[in-house]
Assembly symmetry: C2
Homo-oligomer: 393 residues x 2
Amino acid sequence: MTHVALLNTGLPAQLPGHRVLLGTQQPLRLDSGVEIGPFTIAYQTYGRLNADRSNAILICHALTGDQFVIEPHPVTGKPGWWHLAVGPDRPIDTDRFFVICANVLGGCMGTSGPLDENPETGEPYGTGFPVITIADMVRAQVLLLDHLGIEKVFCVLGGSMGGMQVLEFAARYPDRLVAAIPIATATRHSAQNIAFHEVGRQAIMADPEWHGGAYYQQGVRPTKGLSVARMVAHITYLSESALHRKFGRSLQDRMRVSFGFDADFQVESYLRHQGFTFVDRFDANSYLYITRAMDYFDLAVDYDKPLAEIFRSTPVRFCVVSFTGDWLFPTTESRALVLALNAAAAPVSFVDIDSDKGHDAFLLDEPEFHRVLRGFLDGVAEGTGVGKPDAAA
Amino acid sequence: MTHVALLNTGLPAQLPGHRVLLGTQQPLRLDSGVEIGPFTIAYQTYGRLNADRSNAILICHALTGDQFVIEPHPVTGKPGWWHLAVGPDRPIDTDRFFVICANVLGGCMGTSGPLDENPETGEPYGTGFPVITIADMVRAQVLLLDHLGIEKVFCVLGGSMGGMQVLEFAARYPDRLVAAIPIATATRHSAQNIAFHEVGRQAIMADPEWHGGAYYQQGVRPTKGLSVARMVAHITYLSESALHRKFGRSLQDRMRVSFGFDADFQVESYLRHQGFTFVDRFDANSYLYITRAMDYFDLAVDYDKPLAEIFRSTPVRFCVVSFTGDWLFPTTESRALVLALNAAAAPVSFVDIDSDKGHDAFLLDEPEFHRVLRGFLDGVAEGTGVGKPDAAA
């Protein structure tokens, strides 16, 4: 599989950053049974690896995230999605740690996904790309670590879908990480969350410009459907109180309602903007694939045993984080995980951060959350003797 | 305005039930400043009026409800939307009360709305129909009461958007009702609810078959967009726990996931079904108009005074009902209303029904809720000497 085409997506033909061809020796066998390889993983790194290669942190991004954690995004020009948490002297301190973040398998920011050319047809895969699971994403991340010569990462962490990857990583490769921080996540995707994803997928597939997924060839894109999908998802990322505080019923550039279907309310204008801008940086088919991967995630079913059994005598140190105002991945989900980890006698700390910012809180300026991140990482690093990278190296 | 066309909507050309032409003497002036008239109101009645015309109950339906409260729906054949609560010996007892329910202005079940013919153009109105408010809907209901010769109704009640009409009715015409039961509602539509509505509208307007609202003339309908709008709304009508209890992560007619984009999960299949069937009985433009009316609703702003002032020394007896599992119109909204009514020294009782069924609980078999309805109606009827209709009449 050759990564070639970013055609008609609004994405630049050549993205900055690292890219590696994996699965060249032997293909990667996916959960679906399909084998892919070689395939491309696009990734970024921040900071430097120390002498004993023990200071690597793998960040797993969320549904619409990507590998551009700190620097301005190559498409939108906006600061990286986690620049508040990652950087020199930030909670995830790049002076101390070597941070890696890769675009997930099925994504659209340089890693192989549905907009890749299918070598068998010479056309972009579209819906011919194999369906991906969270476990498949993690398999690809592990191959990347192999490529980078990192036997064991210090910590794997991420929020939302990133947290699902953290849990899958810790379950499947317990000897390849010291610590794990699953944030605002769950061990399985809830019925309500599947429902919201299904609405988004239906909105995309209802767009006649989707063309059964083969829109690349037509020189069009299902931007309206993808925009609606983004709008509905965006509501679920915020709390009711955050929406009320940000917008309430304030009108947009007018003193009274228009008695029409323009964006009278600021919240309408904001949502439309979220939809419009999203389509510039995201591929609709990738949206289908990645939401599907989240829906399929159910750790206990995947391992066919109770959660406590999955993590029985795990050496991994867990720090589980939830946010009180998150109704997409509510605290109850994290608590269920913590109970299972406790039952497995796993070393686990659990922090429920008081915040009314909703699911997106993990991306925002939440000082208590940042203190927790820094405290846990620094504490475990000192406890396990992780050295800083050699300043002279 | 002549109600003529139900063309291309899937709705039968001739609906059963009553129909009356109102605004024939003088047109109805809407909040937008536009005057309409004559216009049609389609309605149903159940039970009989008593000798002193004091036993009438006006039921106000919700966003996608209609006037067919008890009997099988003329399009879907399913039982009327409130057959559990209304009927002989039901909580709203049609042996005792004369029940009226009218399709709201802007609707698509016989009352004038966007699928009506615009006499000026000879074409259906589409988005040329004037934008309607909750107050406009209530004005039309009052004209219907005038037509029926009912000076004062015993009770106005309804859930969700129906509850908004109840509040508007009680605020605007305090001398024309004895009691009011606003159920699972709010005195203003929240930012989150506006946001969900906006997603639905964008889904409809993104459908190329919408044709700027002029789809009737094209012989098509934006069924895909309307279906997506219904799907997202439907999620908000249920609680997370109701979705989990009903579906969880159960698969639909299969033992394992398909690794594709079919409806693998029961909740997906259920949602798609909700979308598909809805379009048979509802007009997409009506969906735009009615959601807009809800978004615009803000009692304190409409009256330009605090809620307590609006209801100061009202003679109306209120029974406010909310449901603990309703996150669309949460208990906090009802509590704010009750606080205002208390501050206005209005007679009010408040019941927060323990239910995990979500917003839709008011439509379902909720025995405690039904006991509250029956108890309040019978109690006030006895207290105010409302006689049953004469059995010999």
